[in-house]
Assembly symmetry: C2
Homo-oligomer: 222 residues x 2
DNA sequence: ACCGATTTGTGCGTATGTATG
DNA sequence: GCATACATACGCACAAATCGG
């Protein structure tokens, strides 16, 4: 047994340790490859592979011919991993929607309790109106609904799941028509938020996702 | 000279394409490095860097001296990315815990409604008993609680957020003692599930996370 | 328990493309 | 345009790990 742990992953961690030890912030430059080779006592290949792995996780950002910089660890790694997962798995689409439902039904309760500004409500009204003809309005609606919840992570996650869902929806399913039912569901959600009625908001959200699920079930059966 | 597309990311995608094209399922072997070199027309180092990036995302699993295999995209490798994000100040620990709370309070309702087998309940009883002395029992409890929910994705996500939380907890805070209050909260959750009382289960879960949040608030103030 | 084949891990050298000054 | 520094890519050789005979 190596007291250093598995060689491959150990190097990645040591690069991260260098970042933390030097107090490097996102956007700042890492030591150059020769410097990392000298610091970590490993060959160029090993260092490069470790840095490449960290790039896949969004921890560092490599710019050709310029240098390696600290990244912001965006959720792009989760995105590609999820995309692979839904293509490999069978029931993965339902799982994806169920996660969205868990997050959004929970969040809509707090949003409805706290309430939204009249300006924000007006923006959402407009998005609902456009939803019948513009599929992008749907995404914008869900994003804007939780924009003020103060949780950046859950915002990114909802956007990420939404994007992944629509990628695979287009690949493996029919183009979902923006039916009157969909628009009506979103309007009910918005009305409940405007009335500051958390229970009604949750119920409307559940009804919305229930219809999404049935639409998926129909598409996957064919 | 080289093929089109950005060298690094393009190779990763092409390796993934090979997996999809051959219908490789998780656990099955990828072509060997020399074969990938032949298939993709790239050097061995480039292929290795691409595969290492995929390993960081859990898409493939590399076993020294044996081969490279399709991974299950367990998302466990992404905990370092999320942990880095939190430590870099991009996201907050509270956000992380809030996402866990949203997922688990939503899930525990369905679990309590459907009920669990007596065998599963006995296992959970045992984990609660061990929780006072074994911190790993806490993770196992939350994992086992939703093991039968039929949603593999949400399971992995809960594991991911739990691992990330405990990584940053160890780095930036004191080792959290398994207090009697923690054990009691988990017992209350379990009792509510046994009684098939969704409302009580959700309430117990919220109480659990409320105490986690206060513990975080105390740690971040110091 | 050893051997040998296979596969991944590591190290080194060199050439090329790219951004900065 | 030129020079410098850097990342990128390629090729080769050897070490380490695993499996099956």
């Amino acid at each position: 047994m190596n007291h250093r742990g598995r060689g491959a992953r150990a190097l990645e961690q040591r690069v991260v340790d260098v970042i933390h030890a030097r107090g490097l912030r996102p956007g700042m430059a890492l030591p150059t490859e020769p410097q990392l080779v000298e610091l970590l006592g490993a060959s160029r290949n090993s260092v490069r592979e470790a840095v490449r792995a960290l790039q896949a996780l969004g921890i560092v950002e490599i710019r050709h011919g310029y240098g390696t910089f600290v990244g912001d660890a965006s959720l792009s790694g989760l995105s590609t991993s999820l995309a692979f997962r839904v293509r490999a798995g069978v029931g993965a689409i339902q799982d994806l929607v169920e996660v969205r439902e868990l997050l959004e039904t929970g969040l809509i309760g707090t949003v409805a309790t706290d309430g939204l500004s009249t300006a924000r409500l007006a923006e959402l009204d407009e998005l609902v109106a456009m939803m019948a003809v513009d599929s992008e309005a749907d995404r914008a609606f869900h994003a804007l609904l939780y924009a003020d919840c103060g949780n950046e992570l859950v915002l990114r996650l909802i956007e990420l799941f939404w994007d992944t869902y629509h990628e695979v929806e287009h690949v493996l399913g029919e183009p979902a028509e923006r039916t009157e039912a969909t628009v009506g569901n979103h309007r009910r959600i918005l009305d409940a938020v405007r009335a500051k009625d958390p229970a009604a908001a949750r119920a409307a959200m559940q009804k919305h996702f229930a219809e999404v699920r049935t639409r998926i079930a129909q598409a996957t059966e064919t």
